[in-house]
Amino acid sequence: MLQKKVCVLGSFGVGKTSLVRRYVESIFSDAYLTTVGVKIDKKTLTVGAETVTIILWDIAGEDEITPIRTSYLRGAAGYFLVVDGTRAETLEVARSIHTRVALEIGPIPFVLLLNKADMQESWDISDQPASALENGAAAILRTSAKTGEGVEEAFQKLAQRIVP
């Protein structure tokens, strides 16, 4: 069976682990539990006639002291760049990660996720993020790990780009 490695990247607290849990286990918890290191999950999905197992690398979020290790993306077929729609500063972090990944790993497909779409009243970013991200992204989606909005669609979009 086809296996593809996909990384989940972004600033700390943007909801990366919650998105993975929502997608893999259909679970959501409001409690915030920070990720240390790397968590790996698997999910099998179908793209056209192809069945593919996605190996998800949920990598600890980037903060001011600890940048993400781009070497973890070695062998990745694509990645999710997650932004917290209620914190504009996480979009800047996403831009920075994207630039480093493109430089060190190369131009692999990614999907930009504007997460926490359920918190519309606190929304803090434009629907049209910087063109640098817009142009490179396979898709830009609003997601909510809480309600499930856009989550399934996001994985399908990326899978369609990485499955030959």
Binding site: Q3, T34, G37, V38, I55
Partner: protein, 404 residues
């Protein structure tokens, strides 16, 4: 090389094995799992099959082999058994060693510290956003306040300009009112608009050496529109510019005014008027009335109040009906006598409790003032204000007194 004595290196090896639950895997160049050992159970890595593809059994290896960088470390990797491991990958002659060292204790400590740090950071970021929103709201409020102040100033300037224009108009309206006269008989008046400009107007003048006209009119409504019409009518009467009317005949004057000032052409305004012509040598007073309050004639000595007579008329207000006609009434004034013309605003006075002044009380006030040797006009105005409970009356207050 450190060249450690065997005792020390043995001890170190024992320490690492006891504290880090060492386990290892060997993957060959074809990415086949060829060998395993150590405490794999600690990591939940059971049921591994040798001579089978490694990546199918160990997900975290997907995409990493062959190694591009050796050694390669994955810190705090969550393992299937719930433990965390630092995973070291070492290349050796086309094969890859995978060494697992338990890092659960470090992971948990780091997680606690990181959790607190992130919670604090998120809190301070939220606080910063709130402060930014408050500052933005404050800036908006300040801007709105400034705009409001500017609007208020503009409004004040407009108001001041309009007030000035109204005062100019009021001065003009007063300027065209005739001056009080004393010879050969006395005529006096009071004119108090309820707003800056009144719908009332009054006047008197000699038509010729034998005939003296006097009138008082009240245009419906108040303010500028009514004032403009009342001034126009006064000017028409004063200048004698009436079509087909003998100014000495009141019924013709009102009929001509009715033809000239139909309400359809006057912004739906109409007016009431009492118009009289006095012939001093005979004492004859001819008058006509168009919906206006009756004049009051006091005959006899004012000290004894005299005998009051109402001088009514029955016509409809001017401008209401195109074919309206007016009757001429006539009486003779015998000195001493006092004739009062007035608008309804002089006697239709509301009290604070909503009740109205009786007409008889008004008539009584006119009579009483004269017997007390007070000026009737001032006395009636004083009474009206006292009854109303406010110096600003609801309607225009206009009254003429002719004394012979």
């Amino acid at each position: 090389m450190l060249n450690l004595p065997p005792r020390i290196s043995d001890w170190l090896l024992q320490l690492v094995r006891s504290q880090f639950a060492v386990a290892f895997l060997l993957v060959d160049g074809e990415q086949i799992l060829v060998s395993t050992g150590g405490d794999l159970e600690n990591y939940g890595l059971t049921g591994l099959h040798h001579r089978q593809p490694a990546c199918g059994q160990l997900s975290f290896l997907e995409g990493l082999l062959p190694l591009e960088e050796s050694p390669f470390l994955i810190r705090s990797l969550g393992m299937p058994g719930g433990r965390s491991a630092d995973v070291h990958l070492l290349a050796e002659e086309g094969s890859t060693w995978v060494v697992l060292l338990d890092s659960t204790t470090d992971h948990d400590k780091t997680q606690k510290m990181q959790q607190k740090a992130y919670d604090m950071t998120l809190l301070s970021q939220r606080e910063a956003r709130l402060i930014a929103k408050l500052e933005a709201a404050h800036a908006d409020l300040t801007s709105a306040h400034r705009e409001l102040a500017e609007s208020r100033e503009a409004l004040q300037r407009t108001h001041d300009r309009m007030q000035k224009e109204l005062r100019d108009a009021e001065r003009y309206v007063r300027a065209i009112l005739p001056a009080p006269m004393t010879e050969p008989f006395a005529v006096d008046w009071l004119y108090v608009p309820s707003t800056e400009l009144a719908g009332d107007s009054l006047g008197y003048h000699w038509i010729d050496s034998e005939h003296f006209a006097l009138y008082l009119l009240d245009v419906s409504g108040h303010g500028v529109g009514s004032a403009l019409l009342s001034v126009a009518v006064s000017q028409t009467l004063r200048s004698g510019a009436l079509r087909d009317a003998d100014l000495r005949l009141p019924e013709e004057v009102l009929g001509s005014l009715n033809q000239t000032y139909q309400m359809e052409l006057q912004n739906n305004l109409y007016f009431t008027i009492w118009y009289g012509v006095y012939h001093p040598s005979s004492g004859r007073l001819r008058y006509s009335c168009a919906g206006h309050p009756s004049a009051i004639l006091f005959s006899g000595s004012s000290e004894k109040n005299g005998v009051s007579t109402s001088l009514p008329g029955a016509g409809v207000p001017v401008g209401m009906l195109p074919n309206a006609s007016y009757d001429r009434e006539e009486c003779t004034l015998t000195p001493p006598a006092r004739l009062f013309l007035f608008s309804d605003g002089v006697f239709e006075i509301s009290r604070p409790d909503g009740s109205m002044l009786e007409f008889a009380d008004f008539e009584e006030a006119l009579a009483r003032a004269a017997s007390n040797r007070k000026t009737e006009l001032d006395e009636v105005l004083r009474m009206a204000r006292a009854v109303h409970g406010n110096s600003i009356l609801e309607d225009d207050f206009s009254i003429i007194k002719m004394t012979i």
